[in-house]
């Protein structure tokens, strides 16, 4: 594609555009959350919506997550398609009953008769010293619980297509967006997340991981911010003649185990990069997906680059020590080679 017709959007704008397009065609779609109307969302992903759709459909809520997420479940069951924002994934602690006991279970408990077509969008990730109640990813926490789809885009193209798919989905979707990918200057932004994004509406199918860089020697599996770390590490490793393949999971539920397995079958080596906690989470699940299927494909023990099992610290030095980075991925390759 030529430079002239390229249409680069931030993830924040891509999300808002997808919501606006669905709202124009489906009167059942509405948005609820804290600071999503006048302010346009603290992470910019509802900017411009209240101006176009008004306060009835772009609805600022009180600080009352149990109330409005529970209400979204009831509205969804009654034929609406609410998009609700949980400002930080960390805040799930005040409202998880509405999420995993109602939103995620009512379809099952009704034998499929009540549909709960809602999107719960929520921000994840650290890196800007917001400490341990505003920096968590919690991918594994959400993905662990059955009954809700869980997706997390790494770039604006996927962000738009996945938001459109999420709104049209008849099942509840947890849409997790990483703050460092939003294109908000004040958070520090990963430039690689802002990519060409078509103006017309389109969907990105859930359950399909994407090989974002082809390679021969090692598969680096990641998601959201970690994909960008992986691509940077891959470029670094390439200089020393190593050819890494990078897989962007995009969807956690349903998880595309086939793409992971096919890539590792080709490269024989696996590094998982996950900004969520080390134990009982995404990284272990990805490794298990490979080894329980065919352990013989592995030429070395898999490596994990993750957040350690500790609350996320505030001080810059401590937080940078804590988070995954391209350098840590390069080191993981070194450990793997040495092994």
């Amino acid at each position: 594609m030529t430079q002239s017709n390229e249409r680069k959007l931030t993830i924040a704008r891509a999300m808002a555009e997808a919501i606006a397009q669905e709202m124009r065609t489906d009167p059942g779609v509405f948005v609820m959350g804290e600071d999503i109307a006048t302010l346009g969302g603290v992470f910019g992903n509802t900017r411009g919506l209240v101006e176009e759709f008004g306060r009835e459909r772009i609805r600022d809520t009180p600080i009352s997550e149990t109330g409005f997420i529970g209400a979204a479940v009831g509205a969804a069951q009654d034929g609406m398609r609410p998009v609700v924002e949980l400002m930080f994934a960390d805040f799930f602690g005040v409202c998880f009953d509405a999420i995993y006991n109602l939103m995620a279970k009512n379809t099952y408990f009704s034998g499929g008769k009540f549909k709960v077509p809602m999107v719960l969008m929520t921000s994840t990730g650290g890196g800007y010293s917001d400490a341990g109640q505003h920096s968590q990813c919690l991918y594994g926490t959400f993905a662990h619980l059955p009954g809700m789809k869980v997706v997390t885009p790494s770039n604006a193209y996927d962000a738009k297509g996945m938001m459109t798919a999420a709104i049209r989905d008849d099942s509840p979707v947890v849409y997790m967006f990483h703050k460092s990918l939003q294109g908000m200057g004040w958070l520090g932004t990963e430039q690689g997340a802002s990519v060409h994004t078509p103006e017309e509406d389109y969907t990105v199918e859930f359950g399909k991981a994407k090989v974002v860089r082809e390679g021969r020697d090692v598969t680096i599996v990641s998601l959201a911010m970690g994909v960008h770390h992986a691509l940077k590490a891959a470029a670094e490793l390439e200089k020393s003649g190593v050819s890494p393949e990078v897989v962007d999971l995009r969807t956690l539920v349903p998880l595309d185990r086939d793409t992971i397995r096919a890539s590792v079958a080709k490269t024989g080596r696996l590094i998982v990069v996950d900004e969520d906690y080390h134990s009982f989470g995404v990284s272990g699940e990805v490794i298990a997906s490979v080894v329980e299927h065919d352990i013989s494909v592995l030429k070395a023990a898999p490596q994990r680059v993750t957040a350690p099992d500790a609350p996320i610290p505030y001080a810059r030095e401590m937080e940078q020590f804590f988070l995954p980075s391209p350098a840590k991925i390069v080191d993981a390759w070194g450990r793997m080679k040495a092994a």
Partner: protein, 328 residues
Amino acid sequence: MTPSKEQLHWMYETMVTSRRFEETIEKIYLEGKQPVFNMASGPIPGEMHLSNGQEPVAVGVCAHLEKGDIVTATHRPHHEAIAKGVDLNRMAAEIFGRATGLSGGRGGHMHLFDPEVNFACAGIIAQGMGPAVGAALSRKMQGKPGVAVAFIGEGAANQGAFHEAMNLAALWKLPFICVIEDNSWGISVAKKDSTAVARNDVRGAAYGVPGVYVEGNDPWKIFEAAGDAVARARAGEGPSLIEVETYRLAGHFMGDAEGYRPKGEKEALFARDPIPAMRKRLLDEGAADEAKLKELEARAEDRVSAAIDFARSSAAPAPEDALTEIFA
């Protein structure tokens, strides 16, 4: 607002249906659980929360509701489900864990869902508040008729979900009614040991919502209070809060020894059993004669036995169906 003769007949028949249903379930529940009580045994496994004594609340409120109106109920949902018109056969089958149950055996007695009459319930205290408020919001946004009623227990008024949902309903002036069934016990903890507020209707003031307390487990008074609230909601005037004094004639759940009740309380409550009381008043006021009451009672018996027969004769679900209907 007073109930018509037809409404009174419906209320009485529905109360008797609910009571017969509970009595029958109680008996069957104990099959296979004696002499050793094991919750996992018998044709109806799991926890069982019976609604004996609380029937007036369900009928007094649901007498004003239509099929399209929304009800969310609690972990003790049978009387409310029956009053809202949930298919009794499929409800019984769900309680028996059969393939023909409302959700094919996936939910059981605390998770009864019937989209035909917009009924849902949930097993966690105050959990129905948010969804009922959301359904009311949906109706308001769509410009569709309908009110949403959340039935909760008095213990639920101490939960955060109650307060958050009341605040939203008032803020958005929704066609929503919260009905608190005050049976004075949260399992074993008395209302007076749970809150310094004697009557929860006063909590409406915290949200700018009118509140009313109905004494005496009286179907007529409940009908009147609910009628006002439903009319208010239908007229677009916003939510209401009703707390009703009612009696839990059974334990919290089957197998509850009820050692926490003061001596003599159970006997006193049985003396005020609302079903014989309503029967007597119908006769006294000439709203029904003996023949009419017998007819209503017989119809209730028939419905219950048909439902139990349906459940008993239904097939068990295929085990592997446990993995279906997880997503839409």
